[in-house]
Symmetry: C2
Subunit: 215 residues, 2 copies
């Protein structure tokens, strides 16, 4: 049974890093401190950084990191997360995920522009571009996932759209014990989410707080 | 050695209940859900509700609740927390803490109005009214605390004033696993607090997340 999942990073004060597509570091300078504990896990080192040495943390953060990469068959992301706004007029631009993006399944990119042709990448990822309603794109992603889960991969505004529409079964927020005081707000307009979903809270060895909402 | 302490309640999205001094429930309707785990502790039941039966939770929430009531010799609060704005022109108004407020030590009320005479209450609490600079009021409170700690008791804007001025040694935030999406923001303009203070995070049996900042 396909579930719709979202994973987000937040600071204690409810901010996630604001991406800056024009910068060298398109995720923004706060992304590092926000995700440091995750980047230290064995799974992230392997899956995102290509470190196959087996190094990395193996505690509670790792359990969430490992779950993040398990059981997903399709993903939906916003245009900014693909990098569509960086080079809007370049049909050759394949996003900033590299030649071999770490998805290995279909990724649906939401756009308000005219859809461009799908882009097959190395390693099993294909980027599809859609300007349809989010529940239509979700239905397509569910079909493509073949019984596995669909992840709404962000950015945070895309995640909020799906959350507010009641389309999300599982939300996981990793809260870093830092105060950013700037960036994109994670929680806006989600009042009462604990009434439609069961909440768990857990602290990892790193001090990261893991919050899950499940229905 | 006197330390300056603050305890705050926050939702996951960084809000605390906005007081509504004109209402039957002056702490606002979100105060109940925000503080439910604390209100269930043995210490709060005894100290705030006068329940001497020994009933109440005795886990991690209770440890923080008990610490809250230990070792404080003076407190500083904002005018709204005393209830000064509710009846600004009534010199007989003694705030809404009842005849026997749960302090039992001097409480300094910050006000922008002309100071009124101090009000001694039953049980050892005396309310003093000050319109001086916060570091001057703090110096007076430290002297009055006789070696015990000084608590900055709120509201949240008063707490933020002291935090931003670098006057706080210990901040404890109890984060309830709920999303309020309204109220007063707890964390504004405190970027980098984890760089001047050491941070701990811990989850109680109730799911409440306890965060401390200590220097």
């Amino acid at each position: 049974m396909t579930r719709v999942r979202i994973d987000l990073f937040s600071s204690l004060d409810g901010y996630t890093a604001a991406p800056d597509p024009a910068a060298d570091n398109p995720m923004g300078e706060d992304w590092g401190p926000l995700t440091a504990a995750y980047a230290a896990t064995r799974t992230f080192r392997e899956k995102v950084f290509g470190d196959t040495s087996g190094a990395g943390t193996t505690g509670i953060d790792e359990a969430y990191a490992s779950a993040f990469f398990t059981g997903v068959g399709a993903e939906i992301i916003g245009a900014a997360m693909f990098g569509l706004h960086a080079y809007p007029d370049d049909p050759e631009w394949k996003g900033w995920w590299g030649d071999r993006p770490p998805f290995a399944f279909p990724v649906y990119v939401l756009t308000h522009s005219a859809p461009r042709p799908s882009i097959p990448m190395e390693g099993g990822t294909t980027f599809h571009f859609r300007n349809d309603a989010i529940d239509d794109v979700l239905a397509e992603a569910v079909a493509a996932a073949g019984g596995l889960d669909v992840r709404v991969g962000g950015g945070v505004r895309t995640a909020q759209e799906f959350l507010r529409a009641g389309l999300v079964d599982d939300l996981h927020v990793a809260i870093a014990p830092i105060v950013l005081a700037r960036g994109n707000r994670v929680w806006d307009d989600l009042r009462g989410l604990e009434q439609t979903h069961a909440v768990t809270t857990e602290v990892a060895e790193s001090g990261t707080i893991h919050v899950t909402f499940t229905r």
